[in-house]
Symmetry: C2
Subunit: 395 residues, 2 copies
Amino acid sequence: MVNNEMYALGSKRSVIRELFEYGKIRAKQLGADKVFDFSIGNPSVPAPNCVNETITALVQNMDSTLLHGYTSAQGDENVRRAIAENLNKRYSTSFAANNIYMTCGAAAGLAISIRALCCDGDEFVILAPYFPEYNVFIKAAGGTPVTVGFDESFQIDFDALRGAITKRTKAVIVNSPNNPSGVVYSKETIEKLAKLLSERAAEYAHPIYIIADEPYRELVYDDVEVSFIPSYHADTLVCYSFSKTLSLPGERIGYIAVNPQASDAENVYFAVMGAGRALGYICAPALFQRVVAECIEARPNTLAYKENRDLLFDGLKNIGFECVHPNGAFYLFVKALEQSAEAFSDKAKAFGLLLVPGEDFAASGWVRVAYCVSKDMILRAMPYFKQLYDSYTNQ
Amino acid sequence: MVNNEMYALGSKRSVIRELFEYGKIRAKQLGADKVFDFSIGNPSVPAPNCVNETITALVQNMDSTLLHGYTSAQGDENVRRAIAENLNKRYSTSFAANNIYMTCGAAAGLAISIRALCCDGDEFVILAPYFPEYNVFIKAAGGTPVTVGFDESFQIDFDALRGAITKRTKAVIVNSPNNPSGVVYSKETIEKLAKLLSERAAEYAHPIYIIADEPYRELVYDDVEVSFIPSYHADTLVCYSFSKTLSLPGERIGYIAVNPQASDAENVYFAVMGAGRALGYICAPALFQRVVAECIEARPNTLAYKENRDLLFDGLKNIGFECVHPNGAFYLFVKALEQSAEAFSDKAKAFGLLLVPGEDFAASGWVRVAYCVSKDMILRAMPYFKQLYDSYTNQ
């Protein structure tokens, strides 16, 4: 009597959530020190001081009915202006407050953007390896996901992409720095992508959008540059989240930025507002709208993530694992020691190691290790990684 | 190139939001003292002290990564348990933490519940006068809204309801205390509704749900009792919000309670979780989950609303307006002085009075006056209501 697809989504859960919940149960059973949960992208670094200071100041000084009251559906105008100005300062763009729509995080931004754009028969290209919920959002909007693989450097497989784009393609979803691989797309990759989409858009006589999923934009190491996609491709919607930048994943705060240079920017923005309504969003959380505007230049201690990356990457390489070197986000992609990453992940569980199998990321044969954890946990986990490795090689 | 329905929803906006935005622009143009905005249900009473005290204490004492981190998708377990226990204490029910799903307010709860239940060809009965977004959520889920009118006391028109329920009826949405009329459904109304739905469910051999939209549950005056619908009809989902109870509408925090007595309670709960995923909800805002659990027994100063109600009701009656006497929420329904409530609302704008026309509530000929405003504004608005009235009678 309920909707079968929704039941399936709810009873199955995402693999990541499933491992996360499993980890909490196991920690209760065995003790927290026996479970090494590398499953979820929950920042391990505290929010910058600015966050809690701003919360305290707002609560003390701002009128309660204003502070906690509804904002406009697209978000408080001052907040949207602060975000637009910050983007313009950093990227020499021309965003205005009315190009910004505040959302409950990047997931809401993606669900809303896809719903806003999707017409009957539309296809959305997703670039493996990818965040598995893309499939959920595309199908929920009535669209069809089309998966394109990666090359040996975990950049886009352009031969596959050329074949995947058709006149039904509404958008390509780009996620760089990438979850789950940690790879940052090079400037050359973005330029090549923009060129291909422009050619095809001209051929089919309609825009092909990029939906840029950018929660990890500020989380990069080794001075790697993250190309700002609207500067390369006019028809771009940026879905941003402060979850990782300000270590606020549970507070659900982010935005959609519709590039004012897009060929039909105003219509896209209206459709975004409409999709927000249709999906039950009234406004993004009001207190945290003001917090992110106030803390827009604050950054967490990303040095801790870099240390974790180096420790984990070097440690696993030394044991013998094959790893992708990540320049951003806080994920390390590790090659499974058997064909099925799911079977490998199940085996790892026996050692207390919670690793997300790559099948759901369309990257079978790999597992994702989230290193937004304590340094101590990485150190304590290393012997178990060694045991896991040995259990394969000593067979 | 965007989705036409989403564009229409976003470019049109809800009538309420339209008036709210208009009011902000007019206040800038004419001065805030010349605009009497009775359009939006933004609580005028500050949040109870418990709210800001809890926020401050959490920020000071709780680990930042836990406080602002992801909770489980359905919400923090302790928070859900606190809500279940509070319901059980008040209503002698048997909710458990796993019957509660935390949401970004009641709107998200409704959108999720409808999406969870809606199968191909399903109809949802909505009882006029109603919150206009019901139509949006039902259509977005692929369902068909079926409107049923009200009787002379603004209770359900049961003759119409009997004709409207068919074997395709999936649910009836009930909103008591009612937005926009302020009327509370009597115990007799709820009993009669439950009996009718049980009979039809037996006849059609499938459950007919009640989706109880209850943001105003605690906002009642004159010792009127609000029947707790799960105690009358097993197949009930309650969509609750703390927006009004704790004066937190901008923070987007509420829950869905799936009655454990429902015939397929577990499946419904899974479908709710799935629909939450599909619509882009990751978890409800984490800080405010903990705030509402801590402040679950706190109440705002509803005496102020009662004073406003009496002032407005008596004042408008004395001028000559016909009004529905409201026992709950913070809305007064006033009969328009011409056939079209839209035309009447437009005319009221000329006097600085922002009143929501009833057409969108399926109650043409009436306007909604939200009295969650300052007492002072009501007093200052009275001469303008008089001028509005005179402009009709002195023609």
